[in-house]
């Protein structure tokens, strides 16, 4: 059954309604009527205005959040509990501050019962691959923001997940570091094609990296309102591809859809603040 499914991850008719803790009558529907399918080896980006429920969708795919209704399927199998075939790169700091970079990369392997020596060797290999060779003994606070992101990337990828979920992983980095990291992720991805669900609010980043870009509406009750196949040739350099005429064309097309939603989202935030 699972081998037949062409999809690595399917989110079908997902709806997420949150209830305020102190007042059960206060409800907020973050995501509604959302169906999203990601093929094996496909790099899909989801863009949308800030606060529209992108992360909610990703948490549903990771199994960290139960949807109010709808089904999640992983390689054709309904998902129960944590999605064990997925690796998750978080937006904020997720490294354990009390473990050194190497120990952080090792920890997932240790959870799986890999021997310490073996895990350490693999961790060392991955640290080298993300450009952190020789930094294994450092604690997260001794690393710069970009290095922490690299360590987090190694921590996720060392487990060789079939699905990679990324929640605005580079939004906290400066532009140069960010482009370097984006290229590195593309490099690593092209070697072993995994299904990637990449959440971002940066349209440039989404187009430069993905095979497909899904545009979400402004919240509440976020749902996909547009889908664009990105037919730019690979391998791509995220900085260079931005000047490609096709890139500009796609950017205009998608931005036309996204712009209204961004304005709506902005207006809502203003209203909330007032």
């Amino acid at each position: 059954m699972s081998a037949d499914s062409p999809y690595a991850l399917e989110l079908i008719d997902i709806q997420c309604t949150f209830r305020a803790k102190d007042d059960a009558s206060q409800r907020y529907t973050a995501v509604a009527d959302t169906t999203l399918r990601i093929r094996e080896g496909e790099f899909v980006s989801v863009v949308g205005p800030t606060g529209c429920g992108k992360s909610t969708l990703l948490n549903v795919g990771a199994g960290l959040l139960q949807p109010s209704s709808g089904t999640v399927k992983v390689f054709g199998q309904p998902l129960e509990g944590i999605n064990t075939r997925a690796g998750y790169m978080f937006q904020t700091e997720a490294l354990m501050p009390w473990r050194s970079a190497r120990d952080n990369v090792m920890v997932g392997l240790q959870y799986r019962g890999v021997s310490d020596a073996d895990a350490a060797a693999q961790a060392e290999q991955w640290l080298a691959r993300v450009g952190l060779a020789g930094f294994g003994d450092r604690y997260p606070h001794q690393l710069s923001g970009g290095m922490r992101k690299r360590a987090a990337l190694a921590q996720t990828l060392v487990l060789d997940p079939d699905i990679i979920l990324m929640d605005e992983p580079f939004s906290a980095l400066d532009v140069q570091t960010r482009q370097l990291m984006e290229n590195e992720v593309l490099e690593l991805w092209s070697r072993k094609k995994k299904a990637v669900l990449f959440i971002t609010h940066d349209l440039d980043e989404a187009i430069a990296m993905s095979d497909r870009v899904v545009v979400l509406s402004a919240g509440p009750a976020t749902h996909p309102i547009g889908e664009f196949a990105i037919d730019l040739a690979r391998p791509r350099d995220v900085a260079e591809v931005r000047t490609h005429p096709r890139f500009v064309e796609l950017h205009t097309q998608i931005w036309n859809v996204l712009r209204d939603e961004v304005l709506k989202g902005y207006a809502q935030q203003l209203k909330k603040a007032a």
Partner: protein
């Protein structure tokens, strides 16, 4: 003149200077017999400490007209007090850690026990000393029990807080990396809670000491608290002060020891002034 201004470099000299001035003032004030009765005399206090610690007698001299016996008899008492402190600290920390972890991870139990914990914490626990004396006798265990009640709540609340304030992202990350409940406890909750325990370690070591001494003071046959109680009974204020000095010095030493252990175990925590980023 500028060299005598207090700066960070000559702070030690200033600290010692202040001590000398205070001792001198104490000495001058205590020259009157009446004042000496209430305040003690620093030289007599020093003499008392000498006889407590050193086995060498001092022949009569202008400072000590009767000479000083070299008893070296405090070690038995000091050993008892320190043993009580260490036992209370160890038992209290382990119990606090275990209960804190359990209650923080079992919301139902913590909901039910909440008022009892609040009551136990706000109760003045020193009054438990007579009960403990009744239960455990006048030996060291009644003092250990009293000190444990002091240490336990400090550690307990810190662990409880520590587990509840584990970063949700770190927790979710560990889950995504495949940690089961036991692995989460070992690799996320416990290290996070330990950092809170260490931040309370200075307080809890101090309280373990307080518990031991107060316990001895309320009824015992051994310990520094007992020495102080005996001296008080005979209005021997010099011995009382000598006891206080000895206790203070050892409390400082314990605190320094904790600081060292903390520095070693908490090296993953950023310290201000550390610019090692690359």
């Amino acid at each position: 003149m500028a060299t005598f201004r207090p700066t960070e470099r000559n702070a030690r000299a200033w600290q010692v200077g202040l001590l000398v001035v205070l001792l001198l003032a104490w000495h001058l004030v205590s020259r009157g017999d009446k004042a000496a009765f209430f305040l003690g005399e620093p030289i007599q206090v020093a003499g008392r400490i000498w006889s407590w610690f050193l086995p060498f007698a001092v022949p009569p001299n202008p400072l000590f007209p009767e000479g000083l016996p070299g008893n070296a008899d405090i070690y038995r008492h000091l050993g008892t007090t320190l043993l009580e402190t260490v036992l209370a600290f160890g038992i209290g920390t382990v119990l606090g850690l275990a209960c804190g972890l359990w209650l923080a991870l079992a919301p139902t139990a913590s909901l039910i026990l909440d008022p009892y914990i609040k009551a136990a914490n706000s109760m003045p626990r020193v009054i438990l000393a007579p009960i403990f004396a009744l239960w455990f006798g006048l030996g060291i265990w009644s003092k250990v029990a009293l000190a444990v009640t002091l240490v336990f709540f400090i550690v307990f609340f810190n662990v409880y807080q520590g587990v509840r304030e584990v970063s949700p992202v770190v927790l979710a990350n560990a889950k995504m990396l495949g940690a089961n409940q036991r692995q989460l406890l070992r690799t996320v909750y416990l290290p996070s809670a330990t950092s809170w325990v260490f931040s309370s370690l200075h307080t809890s070591v101090g309280l373990a000491f307080v518990g031991a001494v107060v316990g001895e003071y309320l009824g015992s046959a051994r310990g520094v608290g007992y020495l102080i109680l005996q001296a008080e009974g005979t209005f021997d204020v010099n011995t009382v002060f000598a006891g206080i000095v000895v206790l203070t010095v050892f409390a400082l030493a314990l605190d320094g020891l904790v600081g060292r252990v903390e520095k070693r175990l908490m090296k993953w925590q950023p310290r201000s002034g550390e610019t090692e980023k690359l």
